[in-house]
């Protein structure tokens, strides 16, 4: 366990075409470029397209090593989805951050390029041991401070003097992930401290049923209308940053908030979870302020929820 050196080495195998879509399929548009995964293969004077890969949470995790890698890459261009542009441009102001569409426009300009360097391949150079993670973890995502202040003011106006806590209760794309990455909304309600806290929904997707329940039960919970959390990432993270603390299941939100230095209580209901959270409880490896609360082996669900109630 925690043999990251070997882990990242094996992770490179995920790029092999034989592994297919269960591995590390790069965005289709990036597959037309030569792939480079070793720093020593980069030629001087040429640009390198550092391409985002996997889900946006993984992308944020991988970008934890970007600032350390920049001195080793002469002309980097970070390529990402359009929705990630504002937050990544603010967080990494010294490099060009462009869209997949822009990368595509360079497909005939390959002589100027080293090729595509998937961001997951940076980790083997910077995070090859547990100590690397512990020593190097510090905030690297810059949130939109103006927006954060606006949201905070808005919530404080409605709920003066209350502690603002962000919540997210459902994540994952595949059904199996969803089971491991969700907590029942009723369970979440049971964790709420109604008297002195106000809760802010940071949950993406359809929350209409949850909203109905909140209104019915007159719970101190705020849903901010008009922001599409899936596409307006910068707004979403700015709202998250307006909270004193976040309680969340394992979703991209935890990565964004953790990388921005926010305090997060991470609820992991099952033993299955992304590798980066490990198998234990307590302080997380990649983000200093993310604390893991995991359902223990043989611990009954109701006991786990009761335990969470005492600590969150």
């Amino acid at each position: 366990m925690q043999n990251f050196k070997l882990g990242w080495e094996l992770y490179e195998a995920g790029l092999d075409e034989k592994i297919g879509r269960v591995g590390r399929p790069l965005p289709a548009v990036m597959r037309q470029f030569k792939r480079v995964t070793q720093i020593e293969d980069l030629q001087k004077g040429k640009y390198t397209l550092l391409t985002a890969e996997q889900g946006i949470g993984d992308q944020i995790l991988f970008l934890s090593s970007l600032n350390e890698m920049l001195p080793k890459i002469e002309k980097p261009i970070l390529i990402c989805e359009e929705r990630m542009l504002p937050i990544l441009r603010r967080s990494f102001p010294t490099i060009e951050v462009k869209t997949y569409g822009f990368a595509n426009s360079l497909s005939s300009q390959q002589e100027r390029l080293n090729g595509v360097f998937p961001i997951g391949s940076m980790m083997k150079y910077c995070r090859s041991s547990k100590e690397d993670f512990l020593q190097k973890r510090k905030p690297y995502i810059q949130t939109n401070e103006l927006k954060t202040a606006e949201y905070k003011k808005l919530i404080e106006l409605k709920y003066p003097g209350k502690k603002i806590v962000g919540v997210s209760w459902s994540g994952g794309f595949w059904d199996r992930q969803k089971r491991a990455k969700s907590i029942d909304f009723e369970e979440l309600i049971s964790l709420m401290k109604m008297e002195d806290h106000v809760y802010v929904s940071l949950q993406y997707g359809d929350v209409s049923e949850n909203k109905k329940l909140v209104i019915e039960k007159k719970l101190p919970m705020v849903f901010i209308d008009g922001i599409d959390f899936k596409n307006q990432i910068d707004e979403w993270v700015a709202l998250a940053a307006s909270c004193e603390k976040i309680i969340s299941v394992s979703t991209a939100l935890v990565h964004f908030a953790g990388a921005a230095g926010k305090k997060v209580d991470l609820i992991l209901g099952e033993s299955q979870s992304p590798f980066i959270w490990g198998l234990e409880e307590g302080n997380s490896l990649p983000y200093e302020n993310v604390t893991i609360y995991r359902q223990r082996e043989k611990e009954k669900r109701e006991d786990y929820i009761k335990r969470l109630k005492g600590v969150l």
Partner: protein, 208 residues
Amino acid sequence: MNSLYKQLKEHLPKNTAILSDKEFLLINLKDYNINQLAPVQAILESIDVSVGYPFRVLLSFIDSLATASKVNDFNIILTDPSMAVAAYVAWVRCGGSAEKGNIFAPKGMPNFPIKDGIVGEILNDFIKKINNNPTVKFDKEIFTFVIGNTKTASQTAFAATNFKDVKKGALILKDFARTDAYQEREYLEEMMLFPTVTFEGHGYIIKF
């Protein structure tokens, strides 16, 4: 950039894909293939240019043709400096560089923005390669784009004369089907050049 979409989104139906800048808005409902126009959007954005729908279709056509041509070397002959952006799209997508590609254009090319990074590098190479000499002498054996419009008879004549002896290449004429461009069309016919006309009214001939 404050796009049209940002200004109007509250009044528009919900949709899955939008392509927009300050002059242009395409909503992907059912009539247009947004992906056809999207690749050129990145190039336009990178040099701070916004254009309307008909010209964008022409640029997308040039983009596809240039990308597919896979040429080792190429010429671009521009008959009207106001279409400099079309020459730039062809240049980028053919792999234009300090070593590859030649551009002939009349005097009066617009100023391109000053850019850093890879876009700045490509733009610098493009600008350095522009040959404003009025006597156009080029290798007719290599792939040649002749890009123009039908604004004036002299521009059309210039385009046709240069394209006539090209072995491989494309003649691209913006607004070729414009009603009052009948003399220009007749001139091309006399030279045995019969462009295909697009829905937007542009004309093109491809020689391979």
